[in-house]
């Protein structure tokens, strides 16, 4: 990395600048095509029949009427297709047979020439069930005699060893001057991507599978689908995954779904492309939401306010089948062990099968839930110790260069600066504890998240291929995916900067596994860090080639050559120059000509967790603090956010405008998580599968938000950058809850913080 520091960075052409998102032109003119817009010749439309009971035996499925409906080309059930198990614990399959364990279970599917015919065919399928007793509460499901979701396992408790032990918590308890203990809960909330899920499965004339999918894991999905093809006896065929523009991700597409395998099955049977597209109602009901949690947390500190221990026990409702929700404890360990300096830690999480829906990744991947408990508890502990909550956080703030209890190597860390900036922007000293009479209060909460990739799989790598054509236009083929966050732009920025070409000459291509190199996926806020490093690696290789050739042509040493605006020139003698385009044509159009291409695979030297769940699994860590000022209407319980500040340690901002977009979007998602969003289930059935009753915030609900970037130099990052995709929504809920406590002296411990909960708590406070 040639750039040594921030000062050198100031002279840059595009890095650090608010370059508009590269595909924004397509999106602003309606020309961007999403999975909704993909149509292939001869395409059929698939529709799925889901279970009518949360827990039942399937006695009989009668598809005869559906099969006879004109326009229907295939009807399948779990009994018609080879057995295939997938998912983290291999307890999921494309179509269910024998038993259903959640209302989300897929029973049958239909492919027809028209979506309305497909819908009608579904209504003609008759299923006989034998309902079984169901259980919807994980604590109940853990008891003796509870109905077993997967009988063959003999228990509803998942065999997952989530346990983290650092130091000696019991001993630390004895040494602590102050201890607080409390219980917090979060419930299901969901991604609400504006573009619903869908795919088009198509077998080409040679029997290779092409999947159009709005997936966030094109290469992992490719592998999953390849495994499926093996089961179908098509092991010698290829899989190609093509991503259209993606209408929102937020983690919802980090796993493969039953409907994707169903589309493949229907395409295989009908020998025609099959499209499955979820309606909004299906999106709410049949995609996997955020993992709910029941959290018991105990923290202690000494007389000076230094944390002595943190003990956390969690129960996670796993639902009927297993997706990434069951792995969120592996990420929840991160704030539990490393948010603030705490020497002794114990964490245990138990995942329990129930007949509820099952969860997967959602922005933050468990971090928002864990931070909810930790940061509320921090305020409680500060109060117990008689220390101001901001001061308490400063006393315990992480420092650059630290090694945390989970062996994270913290390089850059501006947590202290973030806390102080929030304090300043909120006028903390003037306001904290001083506005009770107006029912106003201020509160804050911090976060830690991975900022330099995350080795959650064996590989955390990303590949890039760069080619420069005769016109000096640069094509960058990356394994990364743009889900709206700006991967297509920041990659172009670093390549344009490195190669000295105008940014408009750089195009990033990312959406085809046949064309682009491998990447593990767009998760863990890793794309800026990892994909840009990868792109830089390839760009440097190409630049070396260019300068070598230019030095031969110009007769000067490579060391004095620079490229700026597409012109290669000697720093010492400006008359020695050659346009890049001329050089490219020179080397291409001659005998034994060459092309200008390079490839690079970047996989950071981080560690996977060891058996004790310790290991530096990211190259860098992102920090931040959110601060909120609220006003509570004590008669209605409604909370008004007067001011919201989000201060983030992002390393160097490659694109400040796009980073702020992530922060604003994350903060508003966090506010929804805190105050209004919840999936309301009754006996496993989702009561509010629509935008009218699932309360995602509108433009009128958004308070004044200020996003502040603190930019310490992250030496391991590309141009000093760290990740930002998820941090924006991590500390919102506890910041708001802490502010409410300051305003009215009640602490709500279950999200969302609704007016009813506040009013109830206020009335109880009055009585008591």
């Amino acid at each position: 990395m040639e750039v040594k520091n921030k000062e050198e960075l100031e002279q840059f052409a595009v890095v650090g600048k608010p370059i508009p998102k590269r595909d924004a032109y397509y999106k602003a003119t309606g020309q961007a095509f999403y999975i909704q817009d993909v149509t292939l010749p001869g395409m059929l439309y698939g529709k799925i029949l889901w279970s009518q009971y949360p827990h039942a035996r399937i006695v009989n499925i009668d598809t005869s009427k559906a099969k006879r409906l004109p326009g229907v080309k295939a009807v399948i059930t779990g009994y018609d297709v080879p057995e295939f198990r997938f998912g983290f614990l291999k307890d999921n399959m494309p179509l269910k047979k024998n038993k259903v364990v959640t209302l989300r279970d897929e029973i049958a599917a239909v492919a027809a020439t028209d979506p309305d015919i497909a819908e009608e065919a579904i209504s003609l399928i008759k299923v006989d069930y034998e309902p079984l007793p169901a259980v919807f509460d994980p604590i109940e499901a853990m008891q003796e005699g509870a109905p077993l979701i997967h009988e063959e396992r003999g228990t509803n408790v998942l065999p997952l060893p989530w346990k983290l032990k650092v130091g000696d918590v019991e001993e630390a308890k004895k040494r602590s001057a102050y201890i607080v203990s409390d219980r917090f809960k979060t419930t299901w909330v969901t991604h609400c991507c504006m573009g619903t899920s869908g795919c088009v499965a198509y077998f080409d004339p040679q029997g290779n599978l092409i999947m159009y999918a709005n997936t966030q894991i094109p290469y992992l999905a490719q592998r999953d689908f390849q495994e499926f093809l093996n089961v179908l006896g098509l092991g010698d065929k290829r899989v190609r995954v093509i991503q259209p523009y993606i209408g929102g991700g937020f983690g919802s597409k980090l796993d493969t779904y039953p409907y994707e395998y169903i589309a493949i099955l229907l395409a295989w049977l009908t020998k025609r492309p099959v499209k499955i597209l979820f309606t909004r109602e299906e999106e709410f009901k049949y995609t996997s939401p955020r993992q709910p949690t029941i959290i018991e947390i105990t923290q202690g500190c000494d007389k000076e306010g230094r944390l002595t221990f943190r003990e956390v026990h969690m129960i996670l409702d796993n639902g009927g089948r297993t997706s990434w929700g069951a792995t969120t404890p592996s990420v929840m360990m991160m704030p539990i062990s490393s948010l603030y300096r705490v020497p002794n830690v114990f964490y245990r999480a138990t995942c329990v099968y129930t007949n509820n829906t099952y969860c997967q990744a959602m922005r933050g991947y468990g971090n928002p839930q864990a931070t909810w408990a930790i940061e509320c508890s921090m305020d409680e502990l500060a109060e117990e110790a008689g220390i101001d909550p901001m001061e308490f956080r400063l006393i315990n703030a992480n420092q650059p260069g630290e090694i945390t209890p989970q062996n994270f190597r913290v390089s850059s860390c501006a947590l202290k600066e973030c806390i102080e900036e929030v304090g300043r922007l909120l006028e903390w000293k003037e306001k904290r504890g001083k506005q009770r009479d107006k029912a106003r209060g201020v509160g804050m909460a911090s976060l830690i998240h991975v900022g330099g990739g995350a080795r959650v799989y064996r590989s955390d790598g990303c590949g890039t291929i760069i080619k420069i054509d005769d016109f000096g236009k640069v094509q960058v083929f990356t394994g990364a995916t743009d889900i709206g966050q700006g991967a297509d732009t920041v990659i172009a920025q670093v390549v344009a900067e490195e190669l000295g070409v105008p940014i408009d000459d750089v195009t990033v291509i990312w959406n085809d596994t046949d064309i682009c190199p491998w990447d593990v996926g767009v998760h863990a806020s890793r794309t800026t860090f990892i994909a840009c490093h990868s792109a830089l690696g390839a760009a440097r290789k190409i630049k070396e080639k260019i300068l070598q050739l230019a030095s031969l042509i110009l007769g000067v040493s490579e060391k004095e050559l620079k490229i700026k605006n597409g012109l290669i020139f000697s720093e010492k003698d400006a008359s020695k120059n050659i346009p890049l385009t001329k050089l490219l044509r020179n080397i291409h159009y001659k005998t034994q000509g060459t092309m200008m291409m390079a490839e690079y695979f970047y996989d950071p030297d981080t560690e996977m967790y060891d058996k004790e769940f310790k290991g530096n699994f990211s190259k860098a860590y992102a920090y931040g603090t959110h601060g909120v000022e609220v006003e509570v209407d004590k008669e209605t319980g409604k909370v008004k956010i007067l001011k919201y500040v989000a201060v983030h340690d992002v390393g160097k901002a490659i694109n400040p405008m796009l980073i702020k977009g992530q922060i604003y979007g994350g903060a508003v998602m966090g506010m929804g998580f805190a105050l209004t969003e919840e999936m309301i289930f009754r006996q496993g059935e989702l009561m509010n599968p629509n935008f009218r009753d699932y309360k995602i915030l509108t433009a009128k609900d958004v308070p004044p938000i200020e996003a502040v970037l603190i930019e310490p130099w992250e030496e391991t990052g590309p141009y000093g950058a760290k990740g930002i995709g998820e941090p924006g929504c991590v500390p919102s809920a506890p910041a708001i809850a802490n502010a409410i406590y300051d305003a009215i002296g009640v602490r709500i411990k279950e999200l969302p913080i609704t007016p009813e909960k506040i009013l109830k708590a206020l009335k109880e406070k009055e009585k008591g």
């Binding site: 998102k21 032109y25 504006m194 009218r692 509108t698």
Partner: protein
């Protein structure tokens, strides 16, 4: 049965046969192949399908196509389709980071367009009211509101 309707679409006079079972959104996307207008929910609860009818922002997913008889319809395709001639709103959205995944963008721009044509100098409150029916999950609305303000100021200040 089919009916012939006459209307104006993106400035062009049209006369077409339509089926009363079609919503305007279905007609635009599936019959005319204009995929710019999106379906976010199909129930009039998210605004992604917003188009302009006689200048007013309308949810096309719950609007019968038969009702456009004699009316003027504008969709996102009716705004500039190339970077040389972008509508000020399109340019403002692009330059202010108001677009991330982009799914809500066509509907959002049409709501903003309807606003600025009725109220060329809206306050921030008025902007929020105009787009309150357009849900965005990515941006948190902040840069969208900034973009609309900028487009309003730019238009208002320019000599036309």
């Amino acid at each position: 049965m089919r009916y012939t309707i006459n209307f104006k679409l993106n400035g062009e006079e049209m006369s077409t046969e339509v089926d009363p079972s079609w919503t305007l959104l279905y007609f635009l996307r599936e019959v005319l192949g204009l995929k710019g207008t999106k379906e976010g929910c199909g129930m009039g609860e998210c605004g992604a399908c917003t188009v302009q009818i006689n200048g007013k922002a309308v949810l096309s997913c719950i609007y019968p196509v038969m009702e456009i008889e004699g009316k003027e319809v504008w969709t996102i395709e009716g705004l500039a389709q190339s970077s040389e001639a972008l509508h000020p709103l399109q340019r403002a959205f692009i330059e202010h980071g108001a677009i991330q995944c982009g799914f809500c963008t066509p509907g959002m721009i049409m709501s903003a367009k309807a606003l600025l044509e009725e109220n060329p100098s809206p306050t921030e409150e008025e902007i929020k009211e105009a787009i309150a029916g357009n849900i965005c999950r990515c941006t948190g609305y902040v840069q969208i509101i900034e973009a609309i303000k900028y487009a309003a100021e730019e238009r208002h200040g320019s000599k036309e």
